[in-house]
Symmetry: C2
Subunit: 584 residues, 2 copies
């Protein structure tokens, strides 16, 4: 950051090894994602003359992530933060056309300029730009040609990173004309419908939205522990791309990598050819509780609270049954190691969301991996993968691919950004300068987790009550059952053992799941006395699973640059209100 600030203008940054160069301006926003360590050449220009140099580590991490985010290749850009007023305005508002000395072009004229030979023109907000000389510098590479001869708005609305002042400033350098008023009106009419998020479903107003496009939201923590089964509307939403609208009548699931011809299954096939299997399983985002990591040091990612976790019943065909039916056998088992999933949600280049799980989990008799078509007894809602999603119980949310389009049995993990360069854990001392994504395994099973949902952090409890009831959830990955939750109000000197609940309140407790198949969380509750000598109380909880793994005491030693796997003891501070004295 400081490095480029010295340039006082624009910098031409080329990523060594990528042959890509980009112009960036001093004030960059924190952005999105990364692709590992980069060496960067930079050259400033603009009003104050040029400077140039080469930096392998000289650029601040923040800058390098911006660049990395822009470069991240096909499908690699996480468009979180896309809910950006600038981008929205760009796509929908009409701005006054000021007289200019630029020539007027019709859309037809612009459309003729689609190749490097004829020059590449684009339009943006009624202006025409010849970006031919910029193509080789575009951090997103050839993807820029998708907009050749047309408007930038539909593409920029997909990638929040473009909705920044410095990008507009770069663009302005390439302006060659104005679009004719008639063609501009046509474009604006199209803008609304070209927003890929325009068909996203309605959401529940109680959700706390972390990002609108793509939609990422969590329920209020207090509501979370009200129900053992989270209602669909309140189930946390974590989308990476726009929600695809899939016609169940024409839906096809392709299966590749098995002997013989690829298999194609309709929704009806899935519902009728395989036994309907139902499990109750908790899904958790790898970034749940990321906000606590931010208190140690800023990380990259959505600022999730403690509610990027929810519990539902899921029904569908067992992936094992489908694979066996489709030709899976010892011959495949001898070679293949992974099952890759591709979603039907795709970015502007057509790259779909993707992830993979170990084959051994997919075919395990006790793995319970589902091609689910029902969530809590209803068709899976659009936000959760309608008509078919994978449910990989015990495994991080990111592998539970929604809007499932394709299954590939393979010797290799998914090549997707989300499998290779995201959703991995690192040492607290690993930073964006030193991170090697190949050095860590993709997150699959998640570690033991628990959190306090009530009282909320900062809440006030009444001294006259003499005690406080603490509630929360606890869950562990890999089918490991939570066996105990301990709660302390004296800094860990004494611990209160919480009552665990594995069914809706007031219902009979469910029977204990078989070993290795405890997919669902436990809610818990314990009432502890209020201390008499203090006006503030810190409540902490920790859970233990049946492998006797337990949560680490503190956040700092598990801090990691992506802010995933945040599972230290959960802490809330509450104030004790002395209002009973006033009543006397």
């Amino acid at each position: 950051m400081q490095h480029l600030r010295h340039c006082q203008g624009l910098a031409r940054v080329s990523l060594i090894g990528t042959q890509r160069t980009y112009l960036v301006k001093g004030a960059a926003p924190a952005v999105t994602t990364c692709v590992g360590p980069l060496s960067v050449r930079w050259q400033s220009h603009g009003n104050h003359g040029g400077q140039s140099g080469q930096a392998h580590t000289g650029l601040s991490p923040r800058w390098r992530h911006l660049i990395a985010g822009l470069v991240a290749g096909t499908g690699a850009v996480l468009a979180y933060g896309l809910y950006n007023n600038q981008a929205e305005r760009a796509a929908t508002s009409i701005e006054p056309v000021t007289p200019s000395s630029f020539p007027i072009y019709s859309q037809n004229e612009v459309t003729k300029h689609k190749t490097l030979d004829e020059g590449v023109w684009v339009t943006y907000k009624g202006s025409v730009y010849d970006i031919t000389n910029f193509i080789s510098m575009h951090p997103g590479g050839d993807k820029i040609l998708l907009a050749a001869g047309g408007a930038l708005e539909p593409f920029w609305s997909l990638y929040a990173v473009h909705g920044q002042d410095h990008v507009l400033e770069i663009l302005s350098e390439y302006k060659v004309g104005e679009l004719s008023p008639e063609d501009r009106m046509k474009q604006l009419k199209m803008a609304d419908s070209s927003d890929p998020y325009s068909t996203d479903p309605e959401r529940h107003p109680a959700l706390h939205v972390n990002s609108l496009k793509p939609f990422n939201a969590e329920p209020p923590a207090a509501l979370l522990s009200d129900n053992y089964i989270t209602p669909n509307a309140l189930f946390f939403k974590r989308n990476h791309l726009p929600v695809p609208r899939v016609d169940p009548k024409t839906y096809k699931l392709e299966i590749e990598g098995l002997p013989g011809r690829p298999v194609s299954l309709t929704l009806n096939d899935l519902k009728t050819r395989y036994p309907k299997h139902t499990i109750t399983a908790t899904l958790q985002c790898a970034g749940n509780r990321r906000s606590e990591m931010n208190t140690v040091k800023q990380v990259k990612g959505l600022n999730w609270g403690i509610a990027a976790i929810s519990n539902a019943t899921w029904s569908g065909a067992r992936l094992r049954d489908v694979l066996l039916d489709a030709g899976y056998g010892p011959e495949v088992a001898a070679k293949a190691r992974h099952v890759q999933f591709e979603g039907l949600d795709r970015d502007v280049t057509g790259t779909t969301y993707g992830a993979s799980i170990p084959l051994v989990k997919a075919v395990s008799e006790i793995g319970d991996v589902l091609l689910a078509y029902e969530m809590n007894g209803e068709d899976i809602p659009p936000d959760h993968g309608y008509p078919v999603r994978v449910v990989v119980p015990g495994t991080v949310g990111a592998r539970n691919v929604k809007w499932l389009g394709k299954i590939v049995i393979s010797e290799e993990e998914s090549k997707s950004h989300w499998q290779q360069n995201d959703y991995k854990g690192f040492s607290p001392s690993t930073d964006w300068d030193t991170v090697d994504f190949k050095s860590a395994p993709a997150i699959q099973e998640l570690p033991i987790q628990s959190a306090i949902t009530q009282p909320a952090d900062g809440a006030t409890v009444d001294r006259s009550m003499e005690e406080v009831t603490v509630r929360g959830y606890a869950w562990s990955g890999g089918g490991r059952e939570v066996v105990r939750v301990d709660v302390t109000t004296d800094g860990g000197k004494t611990w209160h053992i919480a009552q665990l609940q594995n069914s809706e309140k007031g219902q009979e407790p469910a029977s204990s799941p078989p070993p290795g198949q405890a997919w669902a969380w436990k809610l818990w509750e314990v009432t502890v006395p209020l201390p008499t000598e203090t006006q503030e109380l810190e409540i902490m909880c920790k859970a233990v699973d049946n492998s006797y793994n337990t949560q680490p005491d503190t956040v700092a030693p598990i801090w990691n640059l992506r802010g995933v796997l945040s599972n230290a003891w959960h802490r809330v501070k509450v104030k004790i209100n002395e209002d009973n004295e006033e009543e006397e």
Copy 2:
């Protein structure tokens, strides 16, 4: 403790609900094991007149555990601490016979008194005791009748708890005569051969012995990390009972609980009828690193250091193959849940060591449970289960039953003390007054673990070296692979990532195990700079496995009354020697 001290003599203690009463004296040693909360009635007598009362919690935990230990029923007494000079002397030495006013009895006369009707007599060190009135008060219950008409020594040598002054004092009250000198000599000659530990094998002198009878020992920590595969002689030993001497020619393994007649297999059957399967697997005692818990608050159990863990290659028949061959199928799977193992090691009542594992682990295609007959390419040594032991990789040592005699497929866990009332984890706030062993699951998979083997705690490193090389081991249960070890020398501000080693030093690294089958530890090493400003250095390590579980920061929050599952960050303090200054 204080409670009984007031009695200034003997107390008659009856355990409410058990109808057993015992006489105990003020100064009790810390003993062995427990069976949950007890209510106790007490009545003092002796020189200073009687007192009586009833205490549900009035007795100190130490007392109650003594009592619990004595009561612990068939096979429930853990004879740790059995290496007791008194007990040894009792069994082997000749003491001068002092003239006494007691009548002289022959062994024949004593032998006639074996029943309550005729009176129960026993001998001890040449004296004869009529213990008829004591039978109902014996905390060990009817087991005492095993000694009726004979010598106590062979039984007391098995249970260290009797080798205490107060027990002798109680016994003295029941003295009725002296054994004839001829019969006493005969007894003494037999004593040596009646020591059930007399046929225990020779052990390596480098081992640190925690208990001689039964034998429990660990290698020096520094030696542990010298070899990726621990040599058999240095592999930690954890016996619960005397080592049985098993004749491989007559050895039979019984299998019950499957359809049809029980199956009986010879050693040759195991070696020839099933494929020989070899795995490298680390075994760890649940009590490894217990000594660190003792620094928080004293726990009950052997004071293990950090080396109750070792790594070996094991070869044998897969339990899955044997069970399938013996009739295991869907019919059994539908009902049974556990596989119980019985050892051929037995206590004086004939009760064998026992444990069980979940059936799902036993029959899993990737569970790798072995009926092992080789350890590191040799016949399994006597201390490790010759001729056949179970190896349950990823699972606590206690379930890896040695000298395997019987397998029972069952709907229930093993009823053994070690499955039901030991080897379980509890909250730090659970004490011997409140513990309910039914409330916690038997330990199976162990949590993530790591420790520093070099430098040793308290070692001195040379300032002139400017850096120190830190070595250790890391392992996790359930086949979860260790993916990272972090080491800090500044209290956790910065972490150094250690190099992991999954084969002998200097050899090619082994290929990565399939998911869920990482049974072997990783050794690790990292060289860190010595700080310039301090003369003492605290080195800490923590490991992470591929479910991203990590070790808790500190010991106190995972402290538990049995001192098991001790896996907080390992800490060693070293001194930095300034001797290079002297050289100048």
